[in-house]
Symmetry: C2
Subunit: 292 residues, 2 copies
């Protein structure tokens, strides 16, 4: 295991622990609702967003204890969006994080409600986070809400684009809204809690935006190059849904080249930040090399 692997494993443990504390047990009434929430949250996926919160926190010297609830809140919003996006009327997917999707296991109604509850809980855990000053909490809530509404707008645009011929600019706009906003917020949140300057936040947001793009590009590549088993979610579904993706637009080889160039852009964005940047470098590298 290298340092990043250790950091990721440790981040996952941290966020899983706090999530387990914050989510009512499956014995709390109505049990089926809490069981459904826990089904989708645990054991969880890559925890990419919490890893980013913790990486930014570490870079800007915020103690882990001050980052926990924000990391958990972001993972709650991300997980609620997966639950809703997987519904039959949306992307209609049966497999997520290596197991049945929430609605396949618990029915559509409970899945919708599990997502709804997760979103409300996300805002509550930040509002009640006594480790941060009042103004920081309000800023995090406002920014998280803003990212969450843009994420929803991105999913709406994505659904409308299915089967349509769309430009690469449109594809990027969709990804920026659907996944980029929450990824950028994750990095910024850790830095805000650490007291980063406006210039540092700007540079970090630019880096995280490139990182989100890189993540999407490699996700698109994995969808066409990997098996359902190795992904833990349905492979090849972009093609079957006639989704506009980077490989469908540029072909696989050019998309790989694009990934390398976006990686270089991401690293360059970090230049104005005069801190120890190893973690951010390693994360970008790790995402790029998901495709190798």
């Amino acid at each position: 295991m290298n340092n990043l692997d250790l950091f990721i494993a440790d981040s996952r443990r941290s966020v899983d622990d706090i999530l387990d504390k914050l989510i009512p047990s499956a014995e709390t009434e109505p049990g089926r609702l809490h069981e459904a929430i826990r089904w989708s949250l645990f054991p969880g996926g890559k925890r990419f967003r919490p890893v980013l919160v913790f990486a930014a926190g570490e870079t800007f010297a915020a103690p882990r204890a001050k980052l926990l609830r924000t990391a958990a809140a972001i993972e709650m919003v991300h997980t609620y969006s997966l639950i809703h996006d997987d519904l039959p009327s949306m992307d209609n997917d049966d497999l997520r994080r290596g197991r049945e999707t929430c609605h396949k296991k618990f029915g559509d109604a409970t899945a919708i409600l599990a997502g709804d509850a997760l979103q409300a809980l996300a805002f509550q855990v930040i509002a009640d986070d006594e480790s941060s000053p009042l103004d920081i909490r309000l800023r995090l809530i406002s920014d998280l809400a803003c990212s969450a509404t843009k994420m929803v707008a991105g999913q709406q645009m994505d659904l409308e684009a299915e089967g349509e011929s769309v430009s690469i600019e449109k594809i990027e706009q969709i990804h920026r809204s659907k996944t980029g906003e929450l990824v950028v917020f994750s990095a910024k949140a850790g830095a805000v809690i650490g007291g980063a300057s406006t210039e540092e936040l700007q540079a970090l947001a630019a880096y995280a935006s490139k990182l989100g793009l890189l993540f999407q590009i490699t996700d698109d590549l994995l969808d066409v190059t990997q098996t359902t088993k190795s992904l833990g979610k349905t492979a090849g579904k972009d093609v079957s849904a006639e989704k506009a993706t980077y490989p469908s637009f540029y072909g696989i080889n050019e998309t790989r080249k694009l990934a390398h160039s976006v990686y270089a852009d991401a690293i360059e964005c970090l230049e104005p930040i005069n801190r120890q940047l190893d973690l951010f470098h390693a994360i970008a590298h790790f995402i790029r090399d998901r495709i190798s």
Copy 2:
């Protein structure tokens, strides 16, 4: 028009104005999403929850300007819950507020996303409310989130109770969660913004809890005694869905008597509050007499 009618009409205008300012126009991309949100929000229903926010604000001397965003946020959460509850996998309803439900008009996917966006926006408009101090905003956000998760739990319990034989205690638990929590929060929010004391808040919460119960009892009665046209939503649907309601449990006449007794309880709860209570009296009276 009596004083309460004027107050209600004025409250509706206030909340509609601020909602119109806070919700992106139907021209904002993705237009269909914002059109769907506006379809469900306007012209709107009784605006019962904003009326309560404004009534509590007036009673505890909070200026209307400090109440607007909170009233709007509550109406957003209420409207998102209606959109989701009407979905085919939930209560499967075609008619709401006198027109097609959101999913009938825009499809299930857009309806789910419209609800999701409304919930996020609700928290954002309070977080960004510069008319209130930071601690008040955080308290409102935490309490709203708590009411919203209980509302979701109530809907889950309601779905699970359909077709089952449940006790009157269970029915009351469901209503308290599903509608009571947000009604209580509405009254408390206005009083919190007005700086009410802990004792006053407790008394007000007790009143609002009775008011929520009274609202549910009269709603159940209206469902069996009124037409779909006069309700603006499908009449008789509780019976056809085999829902446990007050009339199904006690019969219509006993339920009417219960409404009068709950009304008297509500008024009694107000006793510890040494303020001008006309508005609260008139509101309880108004809700009781919906059934006459």
